[in-house]
Symmetry: C2
Subunit: 289 residues, 2 copies
């Protein structure tokens, strides 16, 4: 009896490790965590590749029904269960929690690591060692504009560090109306684009200016937008913060990097290589798509 | 003609992705970068698994002979070359440089991501989003004690962030004497242990005290030592900085985490779970070894 938490990596069904693939073959039950990130392929594609049935686990299941799954497992020592996670198993707090719940039930847990955006962001050429604290940018609404991520960005900048910005994902969210009425009607999924993120960064800068602070991310700050990292049609584009108001990175998932003020020579070269105005490069990228 | 840079992940030959494995099968030349990190298995094991011959690429080859390899490739459009890297392709600056050199020669480059310590460190339960700048701790010598990493640790702590400390690796190093004499006699490889790292952190703290600074990492700071992450005999241990003066983590590779002053409830639980004094847990870990 083992509870396996397996990272699927970022792209498609073949980004799983050979070890992960082999482990799945000896599991009786396979769950796919499907709300903290998305893979470049559908569940059906995974099922076909593994030749196994997969059960999708949404937020409710991960947070509430998982105890039942684990308790069942603890009572059936001949079974193995796999819990598949996009990226790396420990890229979300939920998964540490899951690990601990299994341990408490004395279920042996094995972790199979994989790439996640936290390390794959190195594809921009920004050195992974020069990133400060990672931030998550949530969708602003009319009434609710949580800007607590912004001071973190400023703190990283002050220390001459890059910032990886993870952009909001809204999956299986209910409208305020449906929530009040207790109706399980879900809004269509939303994935924040680099453009939307930058618009919100402008709002934050404006709020700083309104407070007479001169501490904000300047328009000419060098940035990277990445879309669909690890997918076949991955896109990496560099430009200033302002440039990104007009750059369409295409379909999800997007992430965004606000660079340190000083770039190392190789980072600078990578920045120039991926610059949106670099026609040769754009052609190359389009070919990839 | 494609130049593939393929991440091997952290553990053994089966941590490569299915995609990576398939790509290697269509490559005529395969290089293994063997000086910025180590895998849990020898080159021969990889060769057996891939059924392919592998050429080991040391620092000299990566920095000097790689141009020849790439130029050869650019002249033979029917060939593919794979460059294997422990962890993720972009976990070292060398590899961004490699990417750029290939691009300059108009060679299509494909990257195949994998886990690296940068994201796999989440296995401690410390949230990957709460890490500040990563530091590298170099071996001190009698005459040379570079402490520039220490202020970074203090800065992270001040922001209530964890710090991942990568520990020095000395592979194919020549003694001062042999260097002067121009002799290619290499010292045995050295891998800094958690214990050695902590001893050096104590030296840094003492230097701070000698300068009448009260800003240093206190003895009771919570820490995690990790050894052989992703290997079958992986070890995760928590304790205070002082505890680690007496904890033997076994064979390489080690990394070390200096925790933020405040731990989130789940981080705290994971800290307790992995605590060195936790007998039940130690037994479990020994079984794994």
């Amino acid at each position: 009896m083992v509870f396996y938490i397996i990272g699927l990596g970022l792209g498609n069904e073949k980004d799983i490790s050979v070890k992960g693939y082999e482990v799945i073959q000896k599991c009786e039950e396979i769950y796919l965590e499907a709300y903290t990130s998305i893979l470049g392929v559908q569940k059906e594609k995974l099922e076909e590749f593994y030749k196994k049935k997969i059960i999708e686990a949404d937020r409710d299941m991960c947070e509430q029904k998982i105890d039942d799954i684990l308790e069942n497992l603890s009572k059936t020592p001949e079974r193995n269960v796999a819990f598949l996670v996009v990226g790396d198993p420990f890229c979300a707090t939920t998964h540490s929690d899951l690990y601990l719940r299994a341990v408490q039930l004395k279920i042996p847990v094995e972790i199979i690591h994989n790439a996640s955006i936290i390390n794959a962001i190195g594809c921009t050429g920004c050195q992974v060692y020069r990133f400060g604290e990672c931030v998550s940018i949530p969708y602003f609404t009319e009434k609710w504009k949580p800007m607590s991520f912004y001071p973190k960005l400023l703190a990283n900048k002050k220390q001459n560090l890059h910032t990886l910005c993870l952009l909001d994902i809204k999956v299986k969210e209910r409208s305020e109306e449906n929530l009040i009425k207790g109706k399980d009607i879900f809004e269509p999924p939303r994935f924040m684009s680099c453009k939307e993120a930058v618009e919100q960064l402008y709002e934050c800068a404006q709020a700083q200016k309104d407070n007479n602070s001169e501490d904000y991310i300047a328009e000419n700050t060098k940035c990277f937008g990445v879309a669909r990292v690890g997918f076949e049609n991955q896109l990496i584009v560099s430009g200033t913060l302002k440039d990104f108001l007009n750059i369409d990175m295409g379909s999800p998932l997007h992430s965004f990097v606000v660079c340190a003020d000083e770039l190392h020579p190789i980072e600078e070269e990578m920045y120039n290589h991926y610059h949106f105005s670099n026609q040769k490069n754009t052609q190359q990228l389009q070919q990839q798509q």
